[in-house]
Symmetry: C2
């Protein structure tokens, strides 16, 4: 890799998700060379990934090239490379494209799904973190209806038209609602042998209620809205098996060919790269100022770090929390370079909770203000379009949503990739 | 597969491209059950596929689900299946999902690329027929710039920034122009080590001129427009080798890591399925009324059929020609079912030639009327948006184009799929 031209302070940011990108852009006016390393060439707006999985949006609607976002930031450089390790002594990041030296390192490599010791479930219950995950789930969903249409066996047809979502957090709630709308509205008139409206959609949550991080009243409202859409909601029931034929929950086996995993996340391999202490979810244990103990030159942000709030509760794994941590890391770096005292501790400010269930149905909580129904839904739409990166993506998403709103159709109903799988 | 409910005349159409879909929709009011079989769930607007390959449009912008298109046509049924054979005696289509019986068969399975006996070139010079082809070429194009950015070796960097398009028909001309605009405009500010504007783009045509099917004056205009964009145009020079290191043309070897094949098409395996006579390009030889000799119940349309015009010239392999043949096949079937005499011979009506080179540059020929430059470009844009299937796709494409026109940016610059390849 060619050396940087100047001998300035070198900040290397690993990962261009919400946390990493917030750190890079906040360092815009700092006298340092900032290099962001990601194995993808785009920043992904993960909160809308479930809409790609359910054929509402195209991948490009929710992804923006990292290079475009940073094109006008003169002190920023983008490297497309896969991280292979970190040498804390030599202060080097090892990648598949060579070594990158740092003076300060920000680790923001995010999270993947976790199967709580049942990794063999992944084949049958794919999770939703990457664009490829979303197009693979879209393929499974749409193929299930196609296969049911030409299936002569009633039991097999029933299994093909059964969809199970595991995990009752925001992603699970949004997926279950979107699958129900796909079956009951968008596909309703398109088949001749089957009626897609007969599809059975089951949402399974091991804990006592949906949206465990939200106020309890909103959990109830979300459950009601899902049941109105015809989703079977099962709480307090962990999944005990998951294979090619279906899932087992409690004493029952549900025959299905399409399971979506939305139950758990585990941090990226950052703790291994850093040979650092990690919590049960694999997140790196950091100090109050987000630095690695004994290594003030290494900061860890977003889903990769185990961060506690004042009361001891963990900071949630959501985009606003990652952004705040990224901005905090940039503030620490900027203060150090300016010779000012760095802020001593990261304080997370919870802006609110938002989850959508379907057309005109969402729940939102902002402290004592709790909204549900159409008001929450419009708010959810505005907030997501507002936070989408790039004018073009906002325009593209609004076009797609307006079209879907007016016609009940979905704009990205493509079965792409290897059709055999 | 469940049997059809009625014992009506069964028309089976193989392929939902321009020819097949035109035949199906024209049979809307005919007293027959129409089944369309395709291995994809969408109709693809192939003329704009090169814009997916060059990051301007998303796949869903140029594809519409076959089921949506036909949702309101009560006598039409859609089957997602891969065709494995045709039994002309039993009048059965064999698919991976079972057998489908027909009384009348319309074969419209299109074409794939041909490498003229050099099939080993395909690995290094992918063609452009499917959505997966387009996203694979997009990945190659964008990865070449990414790898050049971090490449320390000058010769290798030069090869990474060299792009070769083989074939000077409309697809080759449009690809070369779009790659040049991508490098010179959309990517211009986004890199730090390389300058994408230095990219070398070479368009190679074995014949004496570009756009051989167009009037000669328009070939010259297209060449000039490409050269203004910095494309090296080489005519009268066939490619003699193509491997991982580059291509050989005449006495020269051009080192490149990204080659796009736009030189030839070959028909689908329809001639093999039908055990029928075929021409050199693999197309089924049909009678003047598009029926298979000795089998009036089998009609072959579009790129799958070898059709001659009155003067002996072949009917070109373009969308309007496929549509006209599909409509003719439907007219033959409708006349037979109504007991009227069927039209005796298909007559192709050439509407004109259109190809775009880049922003404000296109060529168009309609008989004696020849246009070039901005007028032809606007006409090209209007014509393509007009013929796009579905209101939503028109809206999405116009949004993307408007954004690109105003900003010079590209909306779908995603490197997706397996990043190692």
């Amino acid at each position: 890799m060619p050396p940087l031209t100047a001998a300035r302070h070198r900040v290397v940011v690993l990962g261009a998700g919400f946390g990493g990108l917030a750190a890079v852009t906040a360092l815009r006016d700092v006298d340092a060379d900032v290099t962001v390393v990601d194995k993808r060439n785009y920043h992904l707006f993960q909160p809308l990934l479930y809409q790609v999985a359910t054929a509402g949006l195209s991948p490009a609607d929710i992804a923006a090239p990292i290079r475009s976002i940073l094109a006008r930031q003169a002190n920023a450089r983008v490297v497309l490379a896969k991280i292979e390790g970190i040498d804390k002594v030599r202060r080097i990041v090892e990648t598949d494209g060579g070594e990158i030296a740092y003076d300060t390192l920000v680790v923001a490599t995010g999270a993947r799904h976790a199967y709580f010791g049942n990794d063999q479930w992944e084949r049958h219950a794919p999770g939703l973190k990457k664009i490829e995950d979303a197009t693979a789930i879209r393929r499974r969903l749409l193929l299930a209806f196609e296969r049911a249409e030409t299936c002569g066996d009633a039991a097999r047809r029933r299994a093909l038209l059964t969809f199970v979502v595991i995990g009752g957090g925001p992603t699970g709630v949004e997926m279950a609602g979107a699958i129900a709308e796909l079956a009951r509205k968008a596909l309703a008139r398109d088949f001749r042998t089957i009626d897609p409206r007969d599809a059975r959609i089951v949402l399974i949550e091991a804990g006592p209620r949906l949206l465990a991080a939200f106020p309890a009243a909103l959990s109830g409202a979300a459950r009601q809205a899902l049941e109105r859409l015809g989703v079977e909601v099962r709480t307090g029931q962990p999944v005990s098996a998951c294979d090619a034929e279906g899932v087992a929950v409690g004493d029952e086996r549900i025959a299905t060919r399409c399971v979506v995993w939305a139950a758990g996340v585990a941090a990226s391999p950052a703790a291994r790269w850093l040979a650092a202490e990690k919590d049960r979810a694999g997140r790196v244990v950091v100090g109050a100022d987000l630095t690695l103990p004994g290594h003030p030159e290494i900061l860890v942000v977003g889903d990769t770090a185990a961060i506690r709030q004042a009361g001891g509760a963990p900071v949630p794994g959501i985009a606003p929390a990652a952004k705040q941590a990224g901005l905090f890391a940039a503030a620490v770096i900027a203060a150090r370079l300016a010779g000012r005292p760095a802020p001593p501790a990261f304080v997370y400010r919870h802006a609110g909770d938002l989850a959508t269930i379907g057309r005109g149905a969402a729940v939102a909580g902002f402290g004592r203000l709790q909204l549900r129904g159409a008001t929450a839904w419009w708010l959810w739409g505005l907030a997501h379009v507002w936070f989408l990166i790039g004018f073009r993506n906002r325009l593209a998403v609004m076009t797609d949503w307006l079209w879907s709103y007016l016609t009940y159709q979905r704009g990205a109903r493509l079965i792409t990739g290897d059709i055999e799988t």
